[in-house]
Amino acid sequence: MTGYPEKLADIVDDFSHITDRNERAEYLIEIADRFDEVRVPPEISSRPHAEENHVLMCESDAYVWAVDQPDGTQRYYFDVLNPQGLSAMAISVILGETLSGQPLEQVAQTSGDIVLKIFGREVSMGKGQGLMGIVSMVQQAAKNKQS
């Protein structure tokens, strides 16, 4: 119904039921705590990372990698250099966990509007754009692979 891959749709649905700002924050912090699970492994990249992987509008210095899988899908990895970039870590975990291994055409259609659905209206414009930049890098990687 949403057009998102199933796992991402589930997460977006979870957040749609949260109206309390503190509850939303707690949930996102829990998710950000799993960042090591999607952090780019050293065999793919170590710091300093290549500029082509840099999310330029993200103030938290986020990086995105897409690694081709044998089944034709991609696995997504991330790094967030700012240790205080919890929101960037949270969206990275959500994208890594829900879009890795999903059909490329679905990943390619994932749009930045999930940021507002997940983070709510409290997110500042600059922060929202940075987070959308991370989504956009993943989406673009899938589009590039398709073409």
Partner: protein, 287 residues
């Protein structure tokens, strides 16, 4: 980093150290306030006793693009349990950029008993000091605020027009890519909230974070700041200066530096910044 009193600042009282804050955690005359860009940071752990002031929820008018009014400020002050006599100490993420923004808004209401914790959250964390997720509770206070005074430290678009016509100095504190307008033209790139890229004619570019030491977020000593703002771009203390960025938060950091650390008496923050100028019809733009 040298002691705050030895850095040559014009108003060293506008800064406090992490040691000072640690020593005043239970001081009823001090309220520590965290202001961040990232709304997840404060709930993930904050300085014991610190309250959160969030720019979207607390400092902005919920409907129109403006700051809270006097009644709103009084409600905010009551919620965080301060009186006009309370010393408020701001700290936050990334070189205190949102902390100086909150500091600036508090100055619109004349709450002058205020300081910024040098180094902010980064320095506090690097020193291994305590953070807690426990939310403090303070008795509500009655705060009688002045009307918001936008005349001294805030600039509006028409005033910036006049400023440009008179050839007075403007400091664009955004990144070089934003200043040049290049960012708006990059493919697959979230645009920065403006239809046009570039900068206000005559503005000199000094990215805001150059005023801070990248390792711990502390402010650079006055001599280094003068080298940046006076030697490099030719500002003089007696000038009428306007700083701007995209929405006024990064430029509030530069406003703080010029006003309190270098002692410039006439500095204003153009909070409309590029999201107003770059969307306005017919305004002059340089690239």
């Amino acid at each position: 980093m040298t002691d705050l009193s030895n850095r040559g600042y014009a108003r060293p009282d506008a800064l406090v150290s992490t040691d000072w804050v640690a020593q005043h955690l239970n001081d009823p005359n001090v309220r520590v306030i965290e202001s961040n860009e990232d709304p997840l940071l404060y709930p993930s752990g904050h300085i014991p006793g610190a309250v959160q002031v969030d720019w979207t929820a607390d400092l902005n008018d919920p409907v129109r693009r403006d700051y809270l009014d006097r009644e709103g400020f009084e409600r905010l002050a009551s919620r965080i349990g301060i009186t006009p006599e309370t010393t408020v100490v701001f700290y936050g993420d990334k070189n205190n950029w949102w902390a100086t923004y909150a500091f600036w808004v508090f100055q619109l209401f004349g709450h002058t008993s205020a300081a910024v914790m040098d180094g902010g959250r980064t320095k506090w964390e690097k020193e291994g000091r305590e953070l807690t997720r426990e939310l403090p509770s303070y008795a509500a206070t009655t705060y009688s605020a002045s009307e918001r005074d936008d005349s001294r430290i805030r600039a509006f678009r028409d005033q910036v027009f006049q400023h440009v016509r008179e050839g007075k100095p403007l400091v664009d504190v955004r990144s070089p890519g934003e200043y040049s307008g290049e960012l708006l033209h990059m493919p697959n790139y979230p645009q920065e909230g403006a239809l046009r890229g570039g900068h206000i004619p005559g503005a000199k570019n000094v990215p805001w974070a150059r005023a801070a030491n990248p390792d711990d977020g502390t402010f650079k000593p006055a001599e280094e700041l003068k080298a940046i703002y006076e030697s490099e771009i030719g500002l003089k203390p007696d000038q009428d200066v306007i700083a701007y960025c995209r929405i006024g938060e990064r430029s509030s950091h530069t406003w703080f530096v010029l006003t309190y650390l270098l002692g410039y008496p006439n500095v204003r923050n153009y909070d409309g910044s590029w999201t107003e100028w770059g969307n306005s019809v017919g305004v002059p733009i340089e690239k």
